[in-house]
């Protein structure tokens, strides 16, 4: 058909809304086209956002852990803002490492547990597993005898 050919005058007339094949596009028409293109782009971006939201299950994660998700968003923004390799990050990491190590070192409960694990690992490594020896060791560990156990004490068979 005549109107299907893009170069035909009838097609051009159709594009120009029947004004005339040689008349230029008015400002209003141009604006209309821009607005319709913008609307299509906006709709497309909304679809993409909702797809990503469904894929990552953002609503579900926010329902389960709201604070964690807020912290993750703030952290992402911080990284995007270029704060990852800044002096503030170094200071914060230093402080958290120091505090964490001091907590671990100072907490007697954690010391006791670590000692128990180390002893169990040494036992398994040495293969020193007579039943009496092991049961007494396990009893001592259960009773939490890290404080009561005198130094150099050995179990007697």
């Amino acid at each position: 058909m005549e109107t299907d050919d893009a170069t035909s005058p009838a097609y051009k007339r159709q594009c120009h809304s029947g004004i005339g094949a040689d008349d230029p596009i008015t400002v209003g028409q141009r604006l209309d086209r821009i607005c319709s293109a913008a609307g299509v782009a906006l709709k497309g971006s909304r679809d993409v956002v909702s797809e990503v939201r469904d894929l990552l299950d953002i609503d579900g994660r926010v329902n389960r852990n709201p604070y964690a998700m807020i912290a993750a968003a703030a952290g992402s923004g911080y990284v995007l803002g270029g704060g990852l390799f800044s002096p503030l990050t170094v200071r914060v990491l230093n402080l958290s490492l120091r505090v964490g190590l001091r907590l671990v070192a100072a907490s007697p409960l954690i010391q006791c547990k670590l000692r128990g694990f180390a002893e169990a690992a040494c036992e398994n490594g040495d293969g020193s597993g007579s039943p009496n020896h092991e049961s007494q060791r396990s009893k001592e560990m259960k009773q939490g005898s890290c404080y009561d156990k005198p130094e150099g004490s050995e179990t007697h068979r």
């Binding site: 953002i58 926010v62 709201p66 923004g77 911080y78």
Partner: protein
């Protein structure tokens, strides 16, 4: 014994004064926590975008320094 009695009395007085304050602040914190989590669950997009924007600005400020 004479020394410990006034100390005990002082400790008991402190406890009586502090206990209602501690309970009140615990209640306020609990209600604030509830309000925050309700708001975040009702408006997840806004809250996440706001947090990201805040983190971005803090990152920019930290980068400058």
């Amino acid at each position: 014994m004479d020394i410990t009695e006034p100390l005990k009395q002082t400790a008991n007085d402190f406890e009586e004064r502090l206990q209602p304050l501690i309970e009140e602040s615990t209640e306020k914190l609990t209600s604030l926590h509830h309000q925050l989590t309700t708001y975040i669950r009702a408006n997840p997009g806004k809250c996440l975008l706001g947090a990201m924007a805040a983190g971005y600005f803090i990152g920019r400020i930290a980068r400058r320094k």
